[in-house]
Structures are given as C-alpha cells and as structure tokens.
Amino acid sequence: MTASLIQLQTRASGERVVVLSGDWTLKALRPAAARVARALKSLAADSTLHWDLRAIEALDSAGALMIWRAWGGDRRGATTIKSEHAAILERVAEVPPVEARRWRLDLLAPLVLLGRRESQIFRHDIALVKLVGGLVLDAFYLVAHPREIPWKEISATIYKAGVMAMPVTALVGFLIGVVLSYLTADTLKAYGAGVYIVNLLGISIVRELGPLLVAILIAGRSGSAMTAQIGVMRVTEEIDALVTIGISPISRLIMPKVIGLAIVMPLVSLWAIGAALLGGAIAAKAQLGLSVVYFLGVLPKVVSPDNLWIAMVKALTFGMAIAMIASDFGLRTKPNTESVSSSITTAVVTSITIVILMDAVFAILFRDVGFE
C-alpha cells in the first residue's frame, strides 16, 4: 500500500497541474480523510488547474467519491485519468445527490408523542380484550370438541413452568421463611408472645407470600420464556405458517400456556408455602425453642383452611394473567430483534405489576374471610 499524495506541479509550459498519486482507497485515506478532503477542496476552488490522475495506483469508490465531492459534483474537463479509473469515477458521478435531512424544531412534538402513546395504549387494551375473547371462544370450542384439546402442549407447560421451577421455588420459599421467622422472633419474645409466631408466619406465608412469591418467580422465569418463544415465532413467520396449516395460534400456542399455568401455579404455590413454613419452623426452633412438631401441630388450628383456598384461587388467577400477558406481548412483537427484547422486558414488568395489583384487589375482596 502506498500513501495517497497530492502535488501541485508547474509544467514547463507554465501550466499548473494537480497530480494525485499513490493509493486512493478507503484504507489509505482513512487516517487523514478530513485533511485530504480539505486539501482537495482548496485546490478545486481554482478552476484553471489541470488535474492529472494517471499516477493513481489504486482507486476505490471512497477515493473516487472524495475527489468527486471536492470537484463539487461537476466533471472537470481538464482531467487526465486511466480508463479503468474513469469508469469508477463515472459510477460515482451517476449517483443522484441526496439532501441531508434537516432538523426542525417542532413545538407540538411532545403533545403528538403523548397522543401517540395514548392511542397505542388504547390499541393495546383492545388487543388484550380480543385475546381474552379469542381464548374464551376457543375454550368453548374445545369443550365441544374435547378430542382437540392440546394435551401435549399443556403437559409441556406444566413440566417446563412447574416441575422445572420446583427447586428454585423451594429454595426461595425456605429462605424467606427462615428470614421472616428470625426477624419477628425477637420482637415477639420481648412481649412474651413467642408462640404467636405460628399465627404470624402461617397467615402471612399461606395467604400472601406463597402465591405472590411464586407468581413473581414464574413471571420472570416462564413469562419471559413464553414472550420470547412467541415473539421469535412471529419474527420468523412461524405463526403465519401455523395459520396457513389451519392451526389456530391461540388454541395451540396460548391456550396450553394459560391452562398449564392455571393448573401448575396453585401446585407450585402449595409447594413453596410448604418450604417456607418448614424454614420458618426450623428458625423458630433455633430462636424460640419451639419444636417443629409443635409448630406444625398448632398451624392448622390457628390458620383456617380458608386461607389456603384463597391462596389457591390467587395462584390460579395469577398464573392465567401471567400466561396471557406474556402471550399478548409475544404476539405484538415486531419483526426485529430490538422489539423482541423490549417485548420481553415489558411483559415481565407488566405481569409482575398486574399480579401485585390483583393481589391488592384480592386483599380487599377477602378481607372478612379466613380470620378467626
């Protein structure tokens, strides 16, 4: 590679010539592109100069473009050039000039943006309603045609979202139980109310923490996976392929996820509640000296079974909500990678938020149920 060179020579005849030599390629020009462009421009300002490009060894489109731009997009009559390089220059000259887009200050832009977002949210709500409607219609259809119930997909969801989540939910539940028990034991002991730790842990874990904890874990674990799966299927047109084969994406992709999570969420919640209570009991033994057998024996007496039923109902609705939100965001993914990642993020954030909102609603609805 030889360096690109610009020389201003005066010939014997008194004619002044700009001689370009060396490599005029992107690679050679790269280190000093701006400087070369400036030098060319100042030379090109003098229209009496003759340009001699024959000494150029290698010319590529970047080099040709720089020369062409310096000339101000007009062919210099007084130019000598190798024929193969002339072709390259010709090619550059063919390109129609494009005006750069100008920035304009638009005072109404924030208002327009707000309106756009508003209508986007509105459209999203409609889409969600449509999805729920589609699910209900498909559910009726499946009740009438039980042979078409997608058992295999439902069981796959149960396995992936439930069975595979058992270790992590047990671990998290157990640790939460231990922590809660440790933190409350001291205060209770100070009032001589150590035995009431069973009531405290029982109600808070069974009624509240168990289902909520599992919902958050499942939303992060399975909700994101569902959005990613459906989103990528949208990008690769697999969903369209399903439709053309005559398979409804709602009944084959989304229904099994909703049913699967509805089945598995109460079970996993039960499992996590068990682990949390066990953790609480062990910590109570260490802190307050309450035996684990006493803890588990008193538990059914102080926590009425209604609480467990409430927990199961909550877990079931949380599960369905997570599956529906995840699927909805998956379906609304646009066919690019950026959209897949933002869909997953919003799906997880939305489902956790909705789950906590629903939890608040449940707390109000069942405020008179399950307490002595």
Binding site: T25, L26, A33, A37, S61, A62, L65, I88, V95, N336
Partner: protein, 258 residues
C-alpha cells in the same frame, strides 16, 4: 500484498456432530479470480465458506485468508483481515433493528474515522450500485422484499470496498432481471477493482457468465476444479447430473437447498 493466494485451504477436515463433512480438502483462490463452488445439498458448501471466513474452526487442517489464519491470529491482524473481505449471507443477515441506511453504514461507522457526510455519500453510492432507490434507505429490513434484502446485504458487503467478496447463494431469490444486473455489477467491480469473488451457487447461468473457475464439492473434497467448460467434460456422477449429461441440451438446475 504480494502474489499470495487470497484463500488457501489445506488438508481441511470438518465435522458436524459426529458426521465428517470435509476430508483432506484443498482449495486455493488467487487474487482476481471469480470462483464458483457447487455441490449437492448437504455437501458442506456453506460449512466450507464459514471455515474460510473464520466463523467456524476446522477439526484439522488450516484455512488462510490473505495468508492469515483468522481464528488464530492476534486481534489486530484478524481485524485487518476482516476489513478486507465482505460477506453476503444466504438470508441476507441484515440487522433487523437498523434501517437499510444504517445497515450499510455500520461497517463504515465502525472505522471511526470518516465524517458523517462522507459516510452518507458512500452509503448512497453503494445503494445505487445495487439499484436500491434512496426512498428505501429509511426502511426497516422487515419492510423489504426478499430480493431487496439480498441487494441491501450485498451493498453492506461492498461497503468497505473489499478485496474479496464471499457470497452464499447470491442470486437465489432474485428475479432473472436482477440476477443479470447482479452478474454485471460483479463483473465490472472485478474488472475495475480487481475484486476476488468466492461464491456458493446453484445457478448455472450465474456460473457460466461469471465464474472464471468452478470447484465441485462432493464426497467431502473438491472432485473437480477448473474452467466451466472443462468441468462439464468431467464424468463424475454428481457433475453429470448437475449440469445435465455432458453435451446434452439445457443444464438441469438443482432445487435450492432449504
């Protein structure tokens, strides 16, 4: 930049899982050549291409680009080699989150030494080369037709004015008119810039008009290598069925691989 070969593959063995794809494969591509690689579906054409451009590691043997083994070269040397070739992937592989313009501008911006105006003009030049009108520059890849994706991907491959162009099925999915103009573009680029082209193709038309040399991949190695006319005389069973029986009428085109 002496007369070293652009691509040099020596005693290459590759495998996919437990299946060996290439056995003792040798291939040399000199500067300025336009070489077409043909072979049956699953014969390992794309695998060979991936090894050549340094995406996959061979099981045994070496693949050198411009005299450098990109997989084992130090970072700077590898980068220097990577800036000397452009690749057109089979499905385009445009970045779906970027517009047409930004896709072509990306390699130029990565150089970090060109000003915005020069980049803009270069991008418009490359788009003009592949016959994409400026109004499409702001579109996202998802809004383009298959043929346009191919052409934008070619523009991106040409962005840095590479010395070597690696093409995987360049004319698959293009209409005959576009594939003719593609052939013309490659021909003129190779004449003007001394561009070397390494392409995998099933299109006999492209091969016969463009390729200065054809290499036939079968049974895990190059079974025939030479000008097309010479290859047609070869009586290897795959070659006979690919080009139609030697000397008899129109060539038979193998269906494009999935």
């Amino acid at each position: 930049m002496t007369a070293e070969p652009v691509i040099e593959v020596q005693k290459l063995w590759t495998r996919r899982g437990r299946q060996v794809i290439h056995r003792d494969l040798d291939l040399r591509v000199e500067a300025g050549e336009i070489i077409g690689l043909v072979g049956g579906s699953g014969s390992g054409k794309t695998t060979l291409l991936r090894v050549v451009i340094g995406l996959d590691a061979p099981m045994r043997g070496t693949a050198r680009l411009f005299g450098v083994d990109p997989l084992n070269a130090p970072r700077r040397q590898r980068l220097a080699v990577q800036q000397r070739f452009g690749t057109l992937f089979q499905a385009g592989a445009l970045f779906s989150a970027l517009t047409v313009f930004d896709n072509v501008a990306l390699p130029l911006r990565e150089l970090r030494s060109l000003d915005q105006r020069l980049i803009r003009d270069l991008v418009m030049l490359k788009l003009h080369l592949v016959e994409i009108e400026p109004i499409h520059a702001g579109k996202m890849p998802a809004e383009l037709s298959g043929g346009m994706i191919k052409r934008v991907a070619l523009a991106r491959a040409l962005a840095l004015d590479p010395e070597l162009l690696v093409l995987d099925e360049p004319t698959a999915g293009l209409d005959p008119d576009r594939s003719r103009s593609f052939v013309k573009l490659i021909q003129s680029l190779s004449k003007e810039h001394g561009l070397t082209v390494f392409m995998v193709t099933h299109d006999v038309d492209t091969l016969s008009t463009l390729a200065t040399r054809v290499a036939v991949l079968a049974e895990g190695r190059i079974v025939a290598d030479g000008p097309l006319d010479q290859i047609r005389q070869n009586d290897h069973p795959f070659i006979a069925s690919f080009f139609g029986t030697a000397g008899s009428g129109a060539p038979r085109v193998e269906p494009a691989p999935a």
